[in-house]
Symmetry: C2
Subunit: 553 residues, 2 copies
């Protein structure tokens, strides 16, 4: 649906441009900054428009790790990351039911294969373009891909870069965005915040030649001689779109608060289809953080604690709590065909004083808060029975607001049995049911987030104490952001339903259809493609600027 009275597509005849530039970029996250820098590097004049008062969108909130096959850091280290191998790894996870190593497209839909090829082909140069613009990074040579032990993964470690502060320390999305914006401005690009682009302007041939932006001072019309690049993020903040498109329930999001999918309305009005709409980039959140809609909420990538387990509303343990977040969230979405409900949709994360002592800290993503710090999302009990009673009371408070939240009468008894079985395994340093601690990425994450290791045999497991107190919080599946939208081609051109490009219109990042399907290949599998397709889009849009009369060739 259109988000206001303004039509998402406006003909040039109805518009007087307030100003014109070569390339308009919409959005200041990874895709937009990369596009702006690429267009500037090719000599284009660039105006970058950001809907929010602050820059960076979801990228700013993120760790801004970025995954690039065959990047220069790998090459410099002598690591071989062949195109065919990298494509096989990506394809294997992007369409796992169709993956066929003998097929020319590896079994993928042709558009997905084309985009994965373009991603690989442009990854190293796009990453290097950021580096050349002084957007700094650290090569995480030891970082495992999320499926590093799949036979299709021939480069299981080292494809991820993370931001670096100006002091040379490990950085996050804040540094990525600040350095990127600084670079755009240093190269003459103009950045305007509180410019919400809700319409594109088309000429008589249907070419996109500008945008209309809503600002606190009224509407502004900006012409774009070379093209418009959307890097405006997904639709995870749009409840109607989520209800219409998601394959299964998502109860929260870490996406920037403005990510309401404005570009989807524009794309649909331009006759572009929507693709890859069913699965978001998935993660986890404490329920009460999700309900707060705090714009600063951070993803629970890796639930901390060795003496910690998840149980469902029946008090039963049903999953490995330490897998890659995108995969864990899908475990929450299991459908019970007899009861016609999602019985694992809300999980109770339970820990003891040992984990509380070891893992409590003030990291915003950590639900285990130091004693004395506010933790309204945490329920406490002196015994497991007390904890069950306290959780039952909490569920009663929340259940009107959260369809699907439940806790059964025998929750306490089952919880005690679940803890007993968990402890039995932990004493043997193994998970009797769900292989916790056996995947390389779990061990890597544990080292990254842990407060300390108590059992070297399996650092991810430790028995809960027989005596309380015990703690719990409710965890739900969430979206970092969505990854569906109109299709693009290898040149980041937005395509119509008939496969023809919409002249003058480019897209990158979470506002267009990702070739990833439901896959999350590795840390930075979100930001990497956003940077790469943004880079391609920026260059192509710059190349679309007509030669000016009288300008030097």
């Amino acid at each position: 649906m259109a988000s206001g009275a303004q039509s998402p597509v406006v003909g040039i005849g109805d518009v007087n441009f307030d100003r014109e530039t070569d390339v308009v970029v919409v959005g200041s996250g990874a895709a937009g900054l990369s596009a702006a820098l690429a267009a500037l590097a090719d000599g284009a004049e660039v105006v970058l428009l950001e809907k929010a008062p602050t820059l960076g969108g979801t990228t700013r909130k993120s760790s801004a790790f970025a995954w690039y096959p065959n990047h220069l850091g790998l090459q410099a280290a002598g690591v071989v990351d062949e195109k065919d191998d990298a494509l096989r790894y990506m394809a294997r996870l992007s369409q796992p039911d169709a993956y066929d190593p003998a097929s020319p497209t590896l079994g993928l839909e042709p558009w997905r294969h084309e985009l994965l090829e373009s991603f690989y082909d442009n990854a190293a140069v796009a990453a290097e373009a950021l580096h050349e613009a002084d957007v700094e990074s650290i090569h995480l040579a030891e970082m495992s891909d999320y499926f590093s032990d799949l036979p299709e993964n021939k480069t299981p470690q080292g494809r991820t870069l993370r931001p670096k502060t100006r002091d040379g320390e490990p950085g996050t999305g804040v540094e990525f965005v600040d350095q990127g914006a600084e670079a755009v401005q240093a190269r003459g690009g103009e950045i305007l915040t509180e410019h919400s682009v809700e319409s594109v302007v088309t000429d008589e041939e249907g070419r996109v030649v500008g945008v209309l932006a809503r600002t606190p001072e009224g509407q502004v019309a900006i012409g774009a001689r070379g093209g418009v690049v959307f890097g405006s993020g997904g639709f995870a903040q749009n409840q109607h779109r989520l209800a219409d498109h998601m394959a299964a329930p998502i109860l929260g999001t870490c996406a920037a608060i403005g990510n309401t999918g404005d570009f989807l309305d524009i794309a649909e009005a331009l006759g572009a289809p929507l693709r890859n709409m069913t699965y978001p980039w998935m993660t986890l959140l404490p329920l009460e953080w999700a309900l707060e809609h705090d714009p600063e909420v951070k993803s629970l990538f890796h639930p901390p604690g060795d003496s910690m387990l998840f149980v469902n509303g029946a008090g039963r343990r049903t999953m490995n709590e330490k897998g890659p977040y995108n995969e864990m969230a899908q475990m929450f979405q299991r459908w019970d065909p007899r009861q016609a409900r999602y019985p694992e949709l809300l999980q109770f994360m339970v820990w003891d004083q040992g984990t509380q002592d070891l893992h409590a800290n003030e990291r915003p993503a950590n639900p285990i808060r130091p004693t004395g710090h506010p933790a309204p999302h945490v329920v406490r009990g002196d015994t497991l029975d007390d904890l069950a009673a306290a959780l039952t009371a909490r569920v009663e408070e929340l259940e009107d607001r959260v369809p699907g939240l439940y806790i059964e009468a025998d929750f306490g008894a089952n919880l005690k049995a679940a803890v007993e079985r968990f402890n039995e395994g932990a004493r043997q340093a193994r998970d009797l049911d769900f292989e916790r601690g056996e995947a390389p990425i779990e061990v890597f994450f544990n080292e990254m987030f842990t407060g300390g290791i108590r059992d070297e045999r399996n650092p991810l497991l430790f028995p809960l104490r027989d005596a309380g107190p015990y703690y719990a919080t409710i965890i739900v599946p969430a979206a970092l952001d969505t990854k569906g939208g109109p299709p693009i081609d290898r040149d980041s051109r937005v395509l119509r339903a008939d496969g023809t490009p919409i002249s003058g219109l480019y897209g990158a990042g979470n506002c267009v259809a990702s070739p990833a399907g439901k896959a999350y290949w590795a840390a930075g599998g979100t930001v990497g493609p956003a940077v790469v397709f943004g880079y391609v889009a920026g260059r192509k849009a710059a190349a679309g600027v007509p030669a000016q009369p009288g300008a030097a060739a």
Copy 2:
């Protein structure tokens, strides 16, 4: 993508109509026949176009059970089926994660609620309109809804009608379609087969005023003074669309062979969005039938046999084999986050000589064929070890064609353990793991399809014999058809992305967005809404015919 050179939308300026009529109906299944009859009953001239050489589409292949809340048969029997109750049952299953009995829309997206209301409001009159046109039916007063024991279901039995032969016997889709087509022609409607509608014609204001149909004799342009009604079926025969839109893998279909989603191309080109694209009407098929693409293949609604079980490629039993087919298929789609695959996607249905003797018959949907009849999809072994070896050989033959097909080295050992545990439960007349035989619909289906009952305590369970031979076939999730497309409103008008109706264009059945979500409420939950929205569309299109100069008022 457009399916040919012809654009899906053609302006009136480029067309000379070969003929004109009041209402053009596209498709001759339940939706199309209902629309044609309704328009004829309101005095309109009707031309019905069918893509295939034969009439009836997927409806003809189906049992053509049809589910109508509060139909006249229920009313005559004194059964109360209140609107609020019926809506709650439908809503509870259509958006189970959002269902909220206290919400004005029951927690549903408003469009879904509007369509469910329209379905209820028009169900009785639409069913009666078929009856008045001599399309005959039998009231299945004892037939259970698929979730008859949900607390939200206040009318758990009797909402389903099935076709009746002219001799008064229970009929199928063949009778439904033959009687419907006969009625259309008896009322002056014209039916043209081998007319494949791939474009609509629009006037200067964007109103749909006709269609272009491809025929063996070339293209025909047909004007529609009142409107065009699409009842042209889903996209289950379009592999690209399935790959782009399905939430999880579907490996076969029972849809009419022409159901390639032609209307989706038209809708997208008209600026209509696509909704409810992620879940089809799900069922099961033997793998080898699915691979044959036999246009006559029939759905395996209820796998026969008491001494019969399913195991996955590891030889482990993971599900109740007798649940409603739409729900069982979703069990096949379980994602394994550690292995990054769908380990239950292909199941081995295993039975013994007892089930072979009791349940073999020539029903086209039954994979258990009488001894001596061709059954190339069945593998046989004198012992369970022999069966495991034969299945391993079969998997080796097929695995190049079927990504995801696997059988593990310890399959045989695990199969024997699974049979032993199944038998242990069967001797006690209960399923130790998956509640087989406990839902009312399972018992109902068993009575409908069974060859005989061996244990009255639980007719769905019986131990497999200790001695062979044993039999097996491979089962996959399949689609009866899809149920996504452009949205319609309560008047069956097709809507643009901005929610405005496209003048002159109506839709019903599997070619438009179903309000059902992923739900399958009951037998006939497919055909019922197709008939009802077809009926509404036919009446509205007839009402759109302009008064003719000189015609009687």
